[in-house]
Amino acid sequence: MSEPVKEVGSVTSIYSEHEEWKVNMGDATVHAKRMPGRFRTLKYITESLWLFFFVGAYLRWNGKQAILLDVNNRQFHIFNLTILPQDIWMVSLLLLLLAMTLFAVTSVASRVFCGFFCFQTAWVDLFTWIEEKLEGNPNKRHKLDAAPWNAEKIRIKLTKHAIWLLISVLTGISFTIWFEDAFVYWHDLTSFHLSLIEVTVLLAFTLGTYILAGFMREQTCLWLCPYARIQAVMADSQTILPAYDMQRGEPRGKLRHAGKVVAQQGDCIDCFQCVQVCPTGVDIREGQQLGCITCGLCLDACDSVMDKIGRPRGLIRYASLDELEGRPVKKLYQHPRTWVYVGIILLALGGIIYGLNHLGALTLRVSPERQPLFVRMSDGSIQNKYAFKVLNKTDKDLNVKISAEGGVKGQVLIDADKPQLIHHGKASGFTVFVKAPEENVKSEVTKLQFRVENVEDPAMSAEYNTVFNGPKR
């Protein structure tokens, strides 16, 4: 083959795009350096919120698990609140709320979630922290990786992987016990009585954690995570993100060259500390890029170097594109994109608050028989059949009495005279007939409202609007 053809135009240039990607393609393990600093401390604090993931499921409330997403029995328990499938729309609003919070935060300060809160970031940070404790600083780790296998290397690696696996198993267990009683699960686990699904979930989460946090690390963020890819949609030139001040830093150059102090050019001394601390191995000086999870660790590194060489901090700092390029910087409230997200957040929040206040203890659903819509009885009267479903959201069985409002004059409720027993936590069904004299049935469809109320507590009631069907007039 001859020399590569000189590229002309924009179409051929996409083929060499990869040459400009300054991301680790997985060829080498990124061994990031740990440097103390403001953002490092902040990251430790935000990541430690995940401790709740490990301990939260053990919280008890009134003798039951405080937070239990009981998918098997199709109900969520959150302290005193029980959410049954009928109210699941609130969960979708909650998801919307969380997604929009993510969007709003991203539009203001870029990938805050990725850098400080994401489980992938947190678990990788924990895994590499363990790695550093066992194998030493990044230099030593690179050397150990390259070194031939010997007893010492095997010992270190075995210990590391054992601890990683232990954390992974704990992660798998901690995930599962949000969905079933934590203590029952531990009992089943220790007596080897897990169901197939439980074993599968445990294995999947154990392996997932071990592989994603132990081996794939930043590759997960680069190639697996969809959120990393859509972030660009939410950020714009007003969004602040960790950025290198090119005007101040360039032209970069080493402070000393061949033992001599070089006439200082820009403030960047090309020390590569920002690259070395980066958990995804990117060079922030290339500008905002896919690989950057905006965790701020390069700010710590650069600030510490600036302190040492006596230059002001902030060569790498949280700044918007507007600020860096010298355009007027708008105020936070002048950011319409964020307002749109906040608006959706408020809508979702309003929906959830409405829902929580209108959960009710009883829910009534009535479906009129559809085949036939009505039956003509021997005395000429018209009878309709209704299937009742009453959902009892309290934790006690109760009796309800049935009444109807509206409908046809002279109508009689059949099979509705005695109270119906409604079991707690599920829907009970029964049938009620309504019979009305034909001469009073004035139209094909007459509005009818059914009402059930707790015999002992009439305030606890539920209504349902339906119709009484009659012959064509």
Binding site: M1, S2, E3, P4, V5, Y15, S16, H18, M25, G26, D27, E369, Q371, P372, V375, R376, M377, S378, D379, G380, Q383, K385, G429, T431, F433
Partner: protein, 326 residues
């Protein structure tokens, strides 16, 4: 991930060059891909030994797996049987109870009657819906499609409260297990056209006894002096708003003229004997009785249980007498 995807040089080509500069690199497939291919090949062998793989044309059987633990000997039909067993195990406690219970006892038991209401739907659709219609709404035989025998309702509606042979749970059960056969002689040779016209008008008005012909011509023998019918014979109530066949004046004339189950042009009203047909088990017939009762027209049994079993004999004994009606 370490493969060079767009290398310009350094990688050998196959040696063929088209269009001056187009050539194939001899890059190895990625390692993960090769591993996947190898794993797939191994899996094929394992799968082949674990599951039936060789169909035999002659015997219809096939090579059964070599019996790796918990796998070989698998067949789809066995899996179906296992799945069905899961269902049967759930139903068994109910079905066992039903065996020794009377239909009335089943109806009185809230849990069992709910079970029957659910499981009876399929039974009804398979065995009864053909004539009585889905959910017992009845099947209308009108229009060109039924030109051969346009008689209005093919079989009685089951969700109203009008019963030819009685509407208590036991009556319904008797009708299912023993079958029913309507009976009314043709009056074309007995009554004049004018008489038929008078009677039909009286019946259509809802008060058949308003014409003296009703008693004179012997209608009362089956339909009763007041025209309200007799459950023991299955004769129709002529005073209510529910019509067995066709409530129009023409329809009533037709019924009187040609009768029921009485030869040419007669109405047909035959319910097969499901015990004799052997299609339904005793439990299934009990289930159906409860299911039909719960359509909304079932009648509570009188405090003193009236023995209704002789209804069948009564009907057959009264063969000579005209029974049943419009």
């Amino acid at each position: 991930m370490s493969d060079i995807h767009n290398s310009a040089g350094g990688v050998p080509t196959t040696g063929h060059v088209w269009d001056d500069d187009l050539a194939d690199y001899v890059n190895q497939p990625p390692k993960w891909w090769m591993l996947g291919l190898t794993a797939s090949a191994i899996w094929v062998v394992v799968y082949w030994t674990m599951y039936p793989a060789v169909p035999l044309a002659m015997s219809g059987t096939f090579f059964e797996g070599v019996g790796l633990p918990g796998s070989g000997k698998w067949t789809a039909i066995k899996e179906l049987a296992e799945d069905q067993k899961v269902l049967d195990d759930v139903r068994k406690p109910y079905e066992d109870k039903l065996k020794n219970m009377t239909p009335a006892a089943i109806l009185a038991d809230e849990e069992l009657s709910k079970y029957v209401e659910r499981s009876g739907k399929v039974l009804f659709s398979d065995n009864c819906g053909g004539c009585h219609g889905q959910n017992g709404v009845g099947t209308e035989q009108v229009g060109a499609k039924f030109a051969q025998r346009e008689q209005g309702l093919m079989a009685p509606r089951l969700n109203d409260d009008d019963w030819l042979y009685g509407g208590t749970i036991d009556d319904i059960h008797t009708s299912i297990s023993g079958g029913r056969q309507g009976m009314m002689v043709a009056h074309k040779d007995i009554l004049s056209a004018a008489e038929i016209d008078t009677l039909a008008n009286a019946v259509a008005s809802g008060n058949p006894a308003s014409t003296p012909l009703f008693a004179e011509k012997g209608c009362t023998a089956c339909h009763g002096a007041d025209g309200k019918g007799m459950a023991a014979m299955g004769s129709a109530n002529l005073t209510d708003k529910v019509w067995r066949f066709d409530g129009s004046l023409e329809g009533i004339k037709q019924t009187i003229t040609y009768g029921v189950n009485a030869g040419d042009n007669a109405r047909v009203a035959i319910m097969p004997n499901f015990t004799a047909a052997g299609k339904l088990s005793a439990v299934e017939m009990k289930k159906l009785a409860v299911y039909v009762y719960k359509f909304g027209g079932g009648q509570k049994a009188a405090p003193v249980a009236v023995e209704v079993a002789p209804a069948v004999e009564a009907a057959s004994a009264a063969e000579a007498a005209p029974v049943t009606a419009p």
